[in-house]
Symmetry: C2
Subunit: 354 residues, 2 copies
Amino acid sequence: MVPALGADAMSRHQPSDAVRLSIAEATALGTRALEHIGYSSEEAAATCAHLVDAACCGYHFAGLPRILEIADDPRTKEARQPIRVVRETPVSMLVDGGNHIGYYAIYKTALMAIDKAKQAGIALVGLYNCALSGRNTYYLELIARENLAGMLFSSAWPVVAPEGGARPMLGTNPMAIALPTGNGPLIFDMGTAAIMRGELALRSRLNKELPEGVAIDANGLPTRDPHEALKGSILPFGGVDRHKGYGLSLTIQALGLLAGASLPRGRVQDYAQLFVVFSPGLLIPEDQFKHDINELIKLIKATPLRPGVDEIRIPSERAFRERERARKEGLLVDRKVFEALKKMASAQAGIQAE
Amino acid sequence: MVPALGADAMSRHQPSDAVRLSIAEATALGTRALEHIGYSSEEAAATCAHLVDAACCGYHFAGLPRILEIADDPRTKEARQPIRVVRETPVSMLVDGGNHIGYYAIYKTALMAIDKAKQAGIALVGLYNCALSGRNTYYLELIARENLAGMLFSSAWPVVAPEGGARPMLGTNPMAIALPTGNGPLIFDMGTAAIMRGELALRSRLNKELPEGVAIDANGLPTRDPHEALKGSILPFGGVDRHKGYGLSLTIQALGLLAGASLPRGRVQDYAQLFVVFSPGLLIPEDQFKHDINELIKLIKATPLRPGVDEIRIPSERAFRERERARKEGLLVDRKVFEALKKMASAQAGIQAE
């Protein structure tokens, strides 16, 4: 199949000089390293489980290497308060993430949203005051594996220019939707930016040119130089249909306001997560829905192919397939990343042994 | 500003030989013509209000000319049953549209969703067994004007090929999100196809070439010939990011199954509407949210411009601006369409006078 022209292609590239670790080894290493930079064992374990899952799904640079970025992030040093529900009704909940890391706060919030949706049938849940959120697929999979449908809209700090604009005003603002099928969840997860922020940072570190049409420089002119792009703005996704990418991004920024984005700092362009979680059984008997959705997927997979294409893909299919293999074969971790994490983990082991 | 490369540009073109009608005249003419082809006065009035609104917003071919297509549509001749709620909980409702026209059934369902969301705070509402749905913005505006937030996902019959596929397997599957701002709603509404079905039909009628990259022929090869495209498939939106357009389209097709798409005919690729409607006040005090969203819109509008751009647009802004003018100045209706409708309306007047 013509590969997805994904601007995220690089973040899936396997490191060239790498160490192979079992899932258990990678998990222990990452968790220990996160504890070393000040996270509780619960927060470290939840965060590391997410990172290992991302790496298993083929997103290597969204895996353990992230721990080095987390260690460098100024927010990691800031004070954290307990995660707490600040407003609640039978069908909704607003959660203050207490400046905890997104990987952990969103995970905890997803679990609360699941409980709420199981009780009320549907739950609208907002979360603010936490950054570094990882892959939305991870949280939605938790939801779909409980036989619930979920939507997640995430607003963030501005790095993307609005259509026609020359300054970053919007986050990369992903949206994701998951449905249970009884056969492994169907999860669609996309950023509304033409390139992920982490991918841009990676290309800048590696001096690697950007694809055409994903960024502008500080003067608003198109650029393929990642350093100029970092001083400028990312563009919304969608190529010739970029006005749709822009409109969706702006809408998600606004949905973030519903989830309390402005509450911690009074900024209307900030991190927040809005979950809609519900039971398909509210509308359709569970068996009927599972039958229908599997029938739809079967039909799509059986579409006659365009010349040169070898398979019709279903969202999340490739990632889950890779994950199954990685769980058996283990993970490749860049040697430099491995050494750095080992140093952090050993120091932590020393502290714990004292 | 660089105009949106909208494949819907043509559907906004004003007719060249046209008759100017006041809103009241256009409404009377359209309603009478719809009654003539068998719609009750309530159904005709609701449908015509939608069509006149679309024309006022600048979508001329989504206005009164649609009545001629409705008249030709075989479904118009099929039996209709009363619209009825077939499954209900305090937070949800599944509605059988009874083969009524979408313009009417979706309107009625939106009103029911508003009532439900006002009572429970949030409502998940599915509608099946009705086609011809018009612009989702129309229904979401009703919702946002009641100070509610709304999302609408619409599945349809297959005219779009999945990424890599050579046959239509997905509908044009639009999604729309609306938020109240206290200052006129913010509404984002997009199709997930690279070109609207109606736009393709119009280009075929007028022998007008398609833009690059919006369709394939029956062999799965790219085509700009609208006649070949009608025998082939439309592509998902998104240009170089088409895999995102495809993933979203498939997800909306699956959401349609939640809304009962398969119930009338046992087909998993069929028309359905899924509404999520909720009160922003569940999460954020109403005044705070209105303040925040207006602040965000102000910031976006004030973004420094890229060279050659004269304005940053906000979704739905242009349409609402045009509508204000049209409400004063009236509508231009293509002369041939006007004559055809006048004939239908006079025949109806004759019947009513008898």
